[in-house]
């Protein structure tokens, strides 16, 4: 599977929740060559385009663009890999009782 198969996919849990706007990975920085593991998917209820990172960081400028992007991606949240039940082409189903986590970058 390639990452563009996931980006923009519709997310259901069981009702429609939004689109995959990004996919989050983490890697151990203790040494070089560590695998980057999938941590979760960022779900945007209103837009499937990239949010340029505005809603995931403290970046506030240029303010008109920040305001526009934040508005388009309002209500975005992160769902961890453990809460993903099924992957289909263009569609992702979440497990019952899945947890919404803040999409802010740590």
């Amino acid at each position: 599977m390639i990452i563009t198969d996931l980006l923009g996919a519709r997310v259901f849990g069981p009702d429609f929740l939004g689109f995959v706007s990004d996919v989050r990975f983490w890697l151990d920085t203790k040494s070089i060559g560590q695998p980057a593991q999938l941590y979760g998917i960022v779900v945007s209820p209103h837009a499937r385009s990239s949010s340029l990172g505005y809603e995931r960081s403290d970046v506030r400028s240029p303010s008109p663009i920040a305001a526009l992007v934040r508005w388009r991606h309002r209500g975005s949240f992160l769902v961890r890999w453990e809460d993903i039940q099924r992957l289909d082409v263009g569609r992702i189903n979440l497990r019952p009782g899945f947890t919404k986590v803040s999409s802010q970058l740590p």
Binding site: M1, I2, V23
Partner: protein, 144 residues
């Protein structure tokens, strides 16, 4: 406290934000490609994932002709995408640095082909300016 320490040792990467469209530099700092896509380890598609399924990992950076598919949709055939294994990545920052030379990958085959079949046939095309510079400076040191 332990989880905070673990978080500090983790680097968080959002695919669109930190990886896609980033420039890839080889170990000598030479730009060799741009990340057009990421290859993930096998994920069961179209079937329920059992609880406890280990998360997939990035296996390779993919580069290739994606302009058309980005505009019109679809995806380029796998044979047109060049793979750079994730194990060759040494650092992810503003650019993605590799621990290997670009000449060892398929990414630069067009440059190598043009160098070998076109540039080298032009008179003077086989000269290596860097080597000539080193040779001249060495001979100056020897004469002095």
């Amino acid at each position: 406290m332990t989880s905070q320490r673990a978080d500090q040792q983790r680097q968080w990467l959002d695919a669109q934000l930190h990886l896609l469209d980033r420039q890839v530099l080889d170990v000598a700092g030479v730009p060799i490609a741009v990340v057009d896509d990421l290859e993930l380890a096998d994920i069961p598609v179209g079937e329920d994932l059992p609880v406890g399924t280990p998360p997939p990992v990035i296996t390779a950076l993919l580069s290739g002709p994606v302009l058309g598919t980005r505009i019109f949709g679809g995806r380029p055939p796998e044979s047109r995408l060049h793979r750079t294994p994730w194990t060759a990545v040494s650092d992810v920052g503003v650019v993605i640095s590799l621990a290997i030379r670009g000449e060892t990958t398929d990414l630069t085959w067009t440059e190598r082909w043009v160098r070998d079949h076109v540039i080298s046939r032009i008179p003077g095309g086989r000269n290596d300016p860097e080597r000539e510079q080193k040779d001249s400076s060495a001979s100056k040191r020897g004469s002095s």
